[in-house]
């Protein structure tokens, strides 16, 4: 059995949280399969790499180059494929982020590996691995068996339990990344000002057509701010131009799985539910007691958002100031 490789994603020189979940998965794989796990970071200056050790990956290679501050699909594919060959890696684990989704399929083809995306959980059957992953935006799950020698799995963020950090820091081996292929590269990064993305947030506050107009979304934003949450939206309000598409939750928006999802004035159409129903806790505020959103809500209030939301903001602020 070859090594297990965990690809650690960095953005702006910081290791992303989903990478630590992948690290923990890598360490679990190593224990199950009796093999070694190694981490790989590609970038320029990157902080906190040694923390990976606290999630069970004792050794990390940092391939460094000033040209690799931002992502480059061509450079990353080549670097990872070369690493897989040089280090006899059999299994690659990647967080299922926008970077992971772009990269995992390219690596899988380059090294002739079987691929399963967006995995939630794994089972081991000798040399085969069975991964569970959502399909139809989470309306169903499938178990897929990957039986090729080399395997690539991407892991859905915020699902695989990373556990509390423990143990010793990782040994980090910094090496120059040479020979990089920059035939496609990120030339500029445009950050949406200080906003948290629904795909990465632990709490999401979403507004729907029940908010009555874009001018009332300050209520949604204020509640989100009080909770440190991201703002989400239904497609109806995105199509109406009240909110940007990057906030759309649902089958043709983002599939999210936060700890808490608060739906304000959202009816809960099947396409919306598909994107958020596996949130750990769901709160719904809707005037219509028969709205389908209540079928999935843990806590519901069948009232007017314009009355309930200001009270909720007030109450959360009170709690946070205690």
């Amino acid at each position: 059995m070859g090594k297990i490789l965990v690809l650690l994603e960095q953005r702006n020189g910081q290791i992303k949280k989903a990478s630590f979940e992948a690290a923990k998965a890598g360490s679990d794989f190593a224990n199950k399969l009796g093999s070694d796990v190694v981490g790989l970071v590609i970038g320029n200056e990157v902080g906190d790499i040694e923390k990976t050790g606290n999630y069970g990956v004792p050794k990390v290679v940092h391939l460094k180059n000033t040209e690799l501050e931002n992502y480059s699909a061509s450079a990353y594919t080549k670097i990872v494929a070369d690493f897989i060959k040089a280090e006899s890696v059999d299994i690659v684990l990647i967080p299922n982020t926008s970077l992971g989704k772009d990269l995992a399929p390219r690596i899988a083809v380059r090294v002739d590996a079987g691929l399963a995306m967006d995995c939630l959980d794994f089972e081991f059957e000798g040399n085969d691995i069975v991964a569970t992953r959502p399909v139809y935006a989470g309306k169903a799950l499938i178990d897929v068996k990957v039986s090729s020698d080399k395997k690539v799995f991407s892991i859905r963020p915020n699902v695989y339990p990373a556990g509390e950090p423990s143990g010793s820091p990782a040994e980090v081996d910094v090496k120059p990344a040479a020979d990089i292929d920059l035939s496609s590269r990120v030339v500029e990064l445009k950050k949406s000002e200080g906003k948290l993305d629904v795909a990465e947030a632990e709490i999401i506050v979403s507004g729907g057509r029940g908010m009555k107009g874009p001018e009332h979304f300050n209520l949604v934003e204020d509640l989100a701010d009080s909770l440190g949450a991201a703002v989400g939206a239904s497609r109806a309000v995105v199509d109406a131009g009240w909110r940007p598409h990057s906030e759309q939750v649902g089958q043709t928006g983002k599939t999210v799985q936060p700890n808490l999802y608060i739906a304000l004035g959202i009816s809960g159409a099947i396409q919306h539910l598909a994107g958020m129903r596996s949130s750990k806790y769901i709160v719904a505020v809707n005037k219509d007691k028969d709205a389908p959103i209540f079928q999935v809500a843990d806590y519901g209030i069948t009232g007017d958002v314009f009355e309930v939301v200001p009270a909720l903001i007030e109450e959360i602020k009170k709690l946070k100031s205690e």
């Binding site: 390219r106 309306k139 068996k145 035939s183 808490l260 806790y281 007017d304 009270a311």
Partner: protein, 249 residues
């Protein structure tokens, strides 16, 4: 210039998913199939690009059973010039689909290829990138802005909390995201014209699946919870529950 657009035929997003009798895929009873929603952006961008260049040919390709012709037909009605069905009734994993597409694209000599960012059935988001890799093409995924200047390609792609501006050159595979364009409707004239356009049926490259679906299941169904009340007076109770019972705030 030849432009290829790869299209998949998927259950409508309003579908209530039930597991079929063999336990590995959905029960097709009562399911309506449509053009994959993201592929409409791919078709639109291919047509727009051809119009901008002022000449060229757009070819729609799909891998799958006969039924996929419906989706190809829809692409033709929107204005695509011709279609190819790489006919296969058996399950193919994403890499086998990509391999079949890559061979056809190579035979066509298309240097610009559009895909949707994701098929809303299996939600893999990989076939475009895999096809690019088989072809040795550059690839930019999840694109919301596409510019072609001679052979130079500049795109905006959506990422968490922002956008990346990516620069590359032809030949290239682009996977499209909502926001890129507004797909046109097929006009009556387009629908009539589509009837006279050809859909060529071909044998795809042999499939070698590395991934096999062994079981489909429904996720644990969520029990509806408590309705706490109908006005703001229950807000303190809600906050208490979120803090003490759910422990999420």
């Amino acid at each position: 210039m030849k432009i290829a657009v790869c299209v998949s035929h998927v259950p409508d997003t309003a579908t209530k998913v039930n597991v079929g009798a063999e336990g590995k895929s959905i029960d097709p009873n009562g399911v309506t199939y449509v053009v994959n929603p993201y592929d409409e952006f791919a078709i639109e961008e291919a047509l727009k690009t051809k119009e901008k260049i002022g000449d060229g040919e757009v070819v729609a390709i799909s891998v799958g059973p006969d039924a996929n012709k419906e989706t190809i037909r829809k692409a033709l009605a929107m204005g695509v010039d011709s279609g190819v069905l790489l006919k296969d009734d058996q399950f193919r994993d994403s890499a086998s689909v990509a391999k079949a597409l890559a061979e056809e694209i190579k035979a066509l000599g298309a240097e610009l290829v559009f895909f949707g960012k994701q098929a809303v059935d299996y939600d893999n988001s990989v076939v475009g990138q895999m096809t690019a890799e088989y072809l040795g093409y550059n690839c930019i995924s999840v694109v919301v802005d596409f510019k072609l200047d001679d052979r130079k390609v500049t795109c905006e792609r959506e990422i968490e909390g922002g956008k990346e501006i990516v620069s590359t050159t032809l030949p290239v595979v682009i996977t499209t995201q909502k926001g890129l364009n507004d797909p046109r409707y097929a006009s009556l004239k387009g629908i009539m014209a589509a009837k006279r356009k050809t859909i060529e049926e071909k044998q795809p490259a042999a499939a070698e699946n590395k991934v096999e679906i062994i079981k489909m299941k429904k996720p644990a169904s969520k029990q509806p919870g408590k309705v706490l009340g109908s006005d703001a007076t229950v807000v303190p109770e809600l906050v208490r529950l979120l803090r003490e019972e759910a422990k999420v705030i």
